[in-house]
Symmetry: C2
Subunit: 416 residues, 2 copies
């Protein structure tokens, strides 16, 4: 929860003053946070005070247990350099940039006061925008561990995902050596962050694929209403909330007994691009739709119950109902922290909406988490209406502890 203060560096806000604060796009913090009403530019906001900036430093990375922001830009990178020192330096540079951007500052302090002959340190499109609860979360893919002599440091829990029934994976939308998840309440802030990291990484890494997302499809805020997915159903009712310390410890954070040591306080993330056959779904009867999910569409209540959060009675549902098959009781108690976003990427070549769910889930154990549950969903009635078209898994290292720490230090540093 450490906040670095550096009054000598320009913040995005102080550069233009607060004249434009009334206009700042989409910068109102949601999910129970309080909107900023400041009129001066000399005080750094804190998360507790305003909800507008999320602390970058901590034992765990932000962006996992953090209340879900409205927008996502997720990018997977391939590593191009073979020079370990160069790659480590890039991770340090990324960390410094992430620390500043999540605080609402420009990437470098010479952005507009520096040399006119040089490219600006910051691309500038987030100037004047608030921090917008930006979080940046890094992950390391299985393929990274084949590089830089890291083979013996690959966690046992970072297994390659098996092929699941119905998978139709596009290699150009799958895997990657690295990932960065950028979440913010303003899409321009999330896009700006990924773009500037890509720019800093130029020549060392390149973007393999990326995904924009909107409209929280799950919520880590326990009492808030569950958002609807693009099928019109509430999804993620019983998700793990960021305040549930016990469930986070049990299902999300890598513990000391799990190992390896460099991953303690970290997690694993599974990303799946799930295309929805929207047009088919929209021609399906209400009864069939409700049977498929095991909930009613309006309220979101489990079959036979009145309210969304009523305890589901699984046996009242059809055997292939989504809720029944995904429930912890059907998966030896397993559950995962879901943090997915809806996406709409225009139209496919056949006049159909290219839309669906970009599923993101964090877990302590990939085999006992996503793999177990996804295998159990092989008979899910929902499978008729969806298809998994992209897939990736990453080891998410622990948080950056202070201003001298950096993303990946525990993996790369000899002293770790």
């Amino acid at each position: 929860m450490t906040e670095t203060k550096d009054d000598t560096n320009p913040s995005r806000r102080s550069l233009i003053g607060w004249g434009g604060a009334g206009l700042a796009l989409g910068a109102v913090a949601a999910g129970g946070a309080v909107a900023m009403t400041r009129t001066g530019d000399d005080v750094e906001p804190t998360a507790a005070e305003t909800g507008a900036a999320v602390a970058f430093h901590g034992a765990n990375q932000a962006g996992i247990a953090t209340p879900v922001q409205d927008r996502l830009h997720f990018a997977a990178f391939d590593v191009d350099t073979t020079d370990r020192a160069e790659f480590v330096q890039m991770l340090k540079d990324w960390t410094a940039a992430a620390r500043r951007m999540t605080a609402g500052k420009t990437v470098g302090d010479g952005a507009y006061g520096g040399l006119a002959e040089a490219p600006p340190d910051d691309t500038g499109e987030a100037l004047g925008l608030k921090p917008s609860r930006l979080t940046l979360t890094i992950g390391f893919g299985p393929s990274l561990f084949a590089k830089f002599g890291l083979a013996d440091r690959r966690p046992d829990a970072l297994v390659d995902l098996p092929k699941f029934a119905g998978d139709a994976l596009d290699a150009s939308r799958s895997n990657g050596d690295l990932c960065v998840q950028a979440c913010a309440d303003d899409p321009q802030v999330a896009v700006h962050a990924i773009r500037n990291l890509a720019r800093i990484g130029m020549g060392k890494v390149s973007i393999r694929w990326s995904q924009l997302g909107f409209g929280k499809t799950s919520s880590t805020t326990p009492d808030a209403q569950t958002p609807r997915n693009l099928m019109g159903f509430k999804d993620g009712t019983r998700n793990i909330a960021g305040t549930e310390t016990d469930r986070l410890k049990k299902f999300v954070w890598v513990g000391e007994k799990d190992g390896p040591e460099w991953m303690v306080g970290g997690s694993y993330v599974v990303a799946r691009r799930i295309r929805m056959h929207i047009e088919t779904w929209d021609r399906t009867s209400l009864q069939e739709q409700e049977d498929v999910f095991g909930r009613d569409k309006g309220e979101g209540a489990p079959v036979g119950k009145a309210k969304e959060r009523d305890e589901p009675f699984l046996k009242a549902m059809k055997p292939d109902a989504h809720v029944r098959l995904a429930h912890p009781d059907a998966n030896h108690g397993s559950t995962i922290l879901r943090r997915g976003y809806s996406f709409t990427d225009g139209t496919d070549g056949l006049g159909r909406l290219e839309a669906g769910l970009f599923f993101l889930a964090y877990m302590r154990d990939v085999s006992n988490g996503f793999i177990r549950i996804q295998r159990n969903l092989a008979t899910d009635a929902l499978n008729e209406y969806i298809q998994h078209v992209g897939s990736a898994v990453f080891a998410v290292p622990p948080g950056v502890r202070d201003k001298d720490d950096w993303w990946g230090r525990t993996l790369f540093s000899e002293e770790a």
Copy 2:
């Protein structure tokens, strides 16, 4: 400004009550509008009262002079049916759905109270969300006038766009018989609207291409700060504001002298998908960037001036500066109402961000508006960093006047 009231039909809000109001995603109205603070579900909000719903009825269509919303979903459709009566019925059905959706209601009144055996009237993903200032604006492309015996009703002003220097147009992202522009402060509301219109049109029309956009890149609100484009520059400082009745009449609305009669109160819209060569731009020096635009990057002031809104002195700029070439003084006084959005559609096959500006502009006269200005931009220094990859033009008919009126009536109705 007529608001229909229909207390017998469920609104999106009354279906779930207001318990979720605190969570409604991104539904806070921006651009000077006032956020809703209602706690009851029995009163329909009005635009004047809350800013959360924009009136659907009026002499002009909403979504043109309306203060720009945060998000865009724009879709171009091909007409598949050859049956004029069937097409006209679809336009009537679309109008009824648009009237309801812009008021925050479900598409039909049987959405969840109707038959379980039938598909729901509404796809449901906007249930519980506020109207979010949704506007829906329809346009008719040149190719539509080759159908349904409409050839002699095509406006002279609806010219085909010529090929401009540097164009690299993708046919699959260009043209269309129809377009619908959906703008809202919540992307899920905009996406929901396009999807439901596509669903109603199934078998009669199909989506040819569509585009998501975010982050207003121009503002029709005169005193608000101008948003930045993805090059980090303020763009659209001297845009026509929705309150400037004289400039709207002169440059945007088709007048009685212009004809044809069915277009009076309408306008023309030009859509251009402009890809930015982000990576090249980001490696360009600050001085070069500022020279290209003719503004400084931080404040947005014209060359030699202190403030964004200071009167530009064009001769102080380089001859190929964007502001200098686009200025009305360089175009025989011509100007257009810009309403574009930034886009980021992931990554191209070469690891570069697929990002840029989805340019939308409304004008009374296409030849004297967009075509004149775009020709003058042939020598624009900006052309080194951008490429036009999609293009379309549409005639935008006048507004729907009341609950008996419908989109396209003045074009299709014999009595018109």
